[in-house]
């Protein structure tokens, strides 16, 4: 069983290589605003999360997922479904 804490910790690991400015990552860190990720980088990150947990995260979900915490919630929900 994967819990939210494990999901969150792994998401942080996946984001780290995409964080060249080494910002401190937290629940409310936003992808576009804080990490300045462009849409292609976000889509590649989604692909790596899909592969990590063997889930489907449709791209049309993305507008609602602005922060790391929101993504962790969404992934946890998909993994435990």
């Amino acid at each position: 069983m994967t819990n939210r804490a494990q999901v969150y910790a792994r998401i942080i690991e996946l984001i780290e290589p995409l964080n060249p400015k080494k910002l401190a990552l937290a629940e409310d860190t936003s992808f576009a605003g804080d990490l300045e990720m462009d849409s292609l980088t976000v889509m590649d990150l989604v692909a790596s999360m899909e592969d990590e947990w063997d889930i489907v995260m449709p791209l049309n979900m993305l507008p609602d997922l602005e922060t790391i915490g929101q993504v962790a919630d969404a992934v946890t929900k998909l993994v435990t479904k």
Binding site: A47, D54, I55, P58, L59
Partner: protein, 403 residues
């Protein structure tokens, strides 16, 4: 009051910085005269056109022009109406008949642009609860079709059969699935391994749409596209294409053998809620499409020219996006934006127009000088082009950086 344009400031500033270095704007070229499919006048200078997608050189074909002139006189300058109201003339039906004959399919629908064809087909075919599975490097019109519709969108790694299969397997077996592929990807000029990709899509119960915008006219026995050359015509449900490349005018279309295809005319909003193409345009298109059915010699010349440019650039030390010549697009990899614009401008001043391409239009953040060939290019023009590439590359220090 907040200025709605504030969000564009980063791009405005980036462009201002670039133009401040003294280069001209690569996205603001004006063609003062167009003399042929391969020559135009830009800044008063006769320029070889090497970035027009005018693959088969049909823009000045005498039969095509004559058909357009006749239709313009006979049917007027425009239809002022939607295809489903007053905007379907005899010419629109003849154009759809030409497409059915060209593709050997039972249904054809003509849209006002290629962009709208993708926008309409993608947004209408897959609805709420269905899944669209698209190649990561898909054209903007395909992505925009996804955003206009209500389907769930899943993206697979560019041209990867393995990744497509993995993502398809994760989807519930009972849901509707549309896999969207392109024959030729227009930025790098690479082609899709359609045999493998289509087989996987079919095995997983998906319908398949292939965009053949850059393949129509010179791939496959009948020039239908990469899907024909790959031998998967029977497994492709929808082919989308455009008139603004090999056909030489403007417009878009979808062809299919699906028995219920005609209903799309009433439910596909980018088809229904816009004005139809002018009579002259559909007359030009129909004539051009019928001529492309018998264009074997032009096809050969186009391939010959493409291979000559590809191998010639490699021999002169340029880095290209594909190891071998896969299509009529030859893309030169460039190190950064400033060198790309300087080299693009140097080429223009030497009388050769190529496309400059930059992210986000390009994949993986690459900068390109993109060439597209035309069957009407002469061997002498290509010699000139290769010579100018070397001169421009030397002028901007491209070879020094690569060394």
């Amino acid at each position: 009051m907040s200025d709605l344009f504030s969000k564009f400031d980063p791009l405005i500033n980036e462009r201002a910085d670039l133009l401040a270095t003294g280069v001209r704007d690569p996205f603001a070229i004006v063609m003062q005269e167009v003399k042929s499919p391969t020559v135009a006048v830009i800044d008063g200078r006769e320029t070889i056109l090497l970035g027009t997608y005018n693959y088969m050189g049909m823009t000045f074909d005498p039969d095509v022009i004559a058909a357009g002139e006749t239709a313009l006189r006979k049917f007027g300058a425009g239809t002022t109406g939607s295809r489903v109201l007053n905007g379907t003339y005899q010419g629109h039906k003849e154009c759809e008949d030409a497409l059915k004959d060209f593709y050997g399919m039972s249904h054809a629908m003509v849209f006002s642009t290629g962009y709208q064809a993708n926008l309409g087909m993608v947004s209408t075919l897959a609805g709420k609860g269905d899944f669209i599975i698209l190649d990561a490097d898909s054209h903007a019109s395909i992505y925009d079709g996804c955003y206009l519709g209500n389907a769930d969108i899943v993206r697979f790694k560019h041209n990867s059969a393995e990744d497509l299969e993995k993502r398809l397997r994760r989807l519930p077996p009972e849901v509707g699935k549309l896999v969207i592929l392109e024959g030729v990807y227009s930025m790098l000029g690479d082609i899709a391994p359609l045999k493998e990709l289509v087989a996987i899509a079919k095995a997983q119960g998906a319908m398949v749409l292939v965009d053949e915008a850059h393949g129509m006219g010179f791939f496959g026995e009948h020039g239908r596209g990469v899907y024909e050359a790959a031998g998967v015509a029977d497994d492709v449900d929808f082919v989308v294409g455009t008139f603004s490349k090999s056909v030489g005018t403007v417009g878009g279309f979808c062809v299919s053998n699906h028995p219920k295809f005609e209903i799309l005319r009433l439910v596909c909003r980018p088809y229904t809620f816009t004005a139809s193409l002018p009579p002259a345009v559909v007359a030009c298109a129909a004539t051009s499409i019928r001529k492309l059915m018998h264009a074997g010699a032009k096809r050969e010349r186009l391939w010959d020219m493409s291979r000559t440019l590809h191998s010639g650039l490699i021999a002169r030390g340029f880095r290209l996006a594909t190891d071998s010549c896969e299509s009529a697009i030859v893309s030169v990899l460039m190190p950064d934006q400033e060198t790309t614009v300087r080299m693009w401008q140097a080429m223009l001043e030497l009388g050769v127009y190529v496309n400059m391409s930059r992210p986000p239009a390009t994949p993986a953040g690459v900068f390109l000088l993109r060439c597209s060939l035309c069957a009407e290019h002469s061997a002498a023009q290509l010699e000139t082009v290769l010579e100018r590439f070397v001169m421009a590359g030397a002028a901007v220090g491209l070879f020094a950086e690569a060394a």
